[in-house]
Point group: C2
Chain length 203, copies 2
Amino acid sequence: MCPEPAHIPKRESGDERRIAIARAARALIIEKGLEGLRTRDIAERVGINIATLHYHVPSKEALVALVAASLRDDFKAQALRHPKEGLDAGAQLRQEFNEFREIVAEMPELIGVLSELVDLSRRDPTIAEIILPMQAFWTGQFTKIFRTGIDDGSFRPNIDPAAAAIIVTAALSDCWRPHRRASLEPVIAELERAFLLPVSNQG
Amino acid sequence: MCPEPAHIPKRESGDERRIAIARAARALIIEKGLEGLRTRDIAERVGINIATLHYHVPSKEALVALVAASLRDDFKAQALRHPKEGLDAGAQLRQEFNEFREIVAEMPELIGVLSELVDLSRRDPTIAEIILPMQAFWTGQFTKIFRTGIDDGSFRPNIDPAAAAIIVTAALSDCWRPHRRASLEPVIAELERAFLLPVSNQG
DNA sequence: TCATCAATCAATCATTTGATTGAGAAAATG
DNA sequence: CATTTTCTCAATCAAATGATTGATTGATGA
């Protein structure tokens, strides 16, 4: 079923409220952590009653799932923002780095909340179902890039694509933490040196 | 002599109790996450009353700090278990990898709890004071190794030691997660290829 | 033997917290 | 307008939870 195409807009729609709730929840997860997340705080930040919150999101469990889904949606939207067809492997890798820079700049809480939910996925199958495919997608993007780069000779030939992809995503995620934020650019530069072959004098 | 009569509830010294409490708390943090950690559960696992728990550890905050300190102690003990003097840089790097393998094998919860507390350090200065120096120590070990390896010519000469250390520690920590555990060896192998120079055909 | 103190527990407290109820307001519908 | 549906809130509940109290137990030393 597609979303209703040319229907008349409702009043303050439930969808908008749910988006506002997810946004507030994400901010609060960053501020207080998953263990400090309270439905009352979310309602207050959105500016609604706790009962209204429960009208739109039936339970706290569903709320965390909503947050997970919102992360996935934002992440996919970001991944589709930049075309990667026709680029060589090195350019694709740099494009991925740029996308990460944009995420850190424009949705600074995304990686942090994602990191908390990846932990949560260990013990919550509902969340795992949303988060793990998303993580697999991100790692998979790098894996494909590494395969391409090995094939066209621009990357170090003895790379293990899957292992390298884990290293890259783990390093980038780590640089999201405040006390590591300043290291993002040096880390990206080091990752390039680690996997790209030095360019000889090319035109 | 110290044989233990099994059926008699033995009274333990304060230090022993605190160690048992920290151990139980670590296990429960892995099972339920920091957000699912309950003082009652800890007391039950240790086999003591909730009031006794509060006698030994005054508050939940202090309890988490106790866990952080126990992580630090275990981590330092492990770091001192293997001598690294006199080894060349490559051997030191492999020694660090071996220590990590031992931690994963012998204290499988250490890295996971550490990861949760690193997150917590973002918002809790008391925990940050314990955890961040510990993290800095670990990263610093790798930084020193990379400097040594660059100097003696066994590592890729254009390594940024600090950035490379972040990459290594982030990648290892990431491999602690259950769905990444199988990737530990490939990731370690890839890290070696990324930073060590090929040894045989060099010349 | 007895006084002292660390260690322990049953019972309970005071909040916090996720969730519900029932009533009502504000659109949408006819 | 009347009716229905959607959305909202004040009040409240029941359970969970961190913490405390007051009494008890066992070890130690004088």
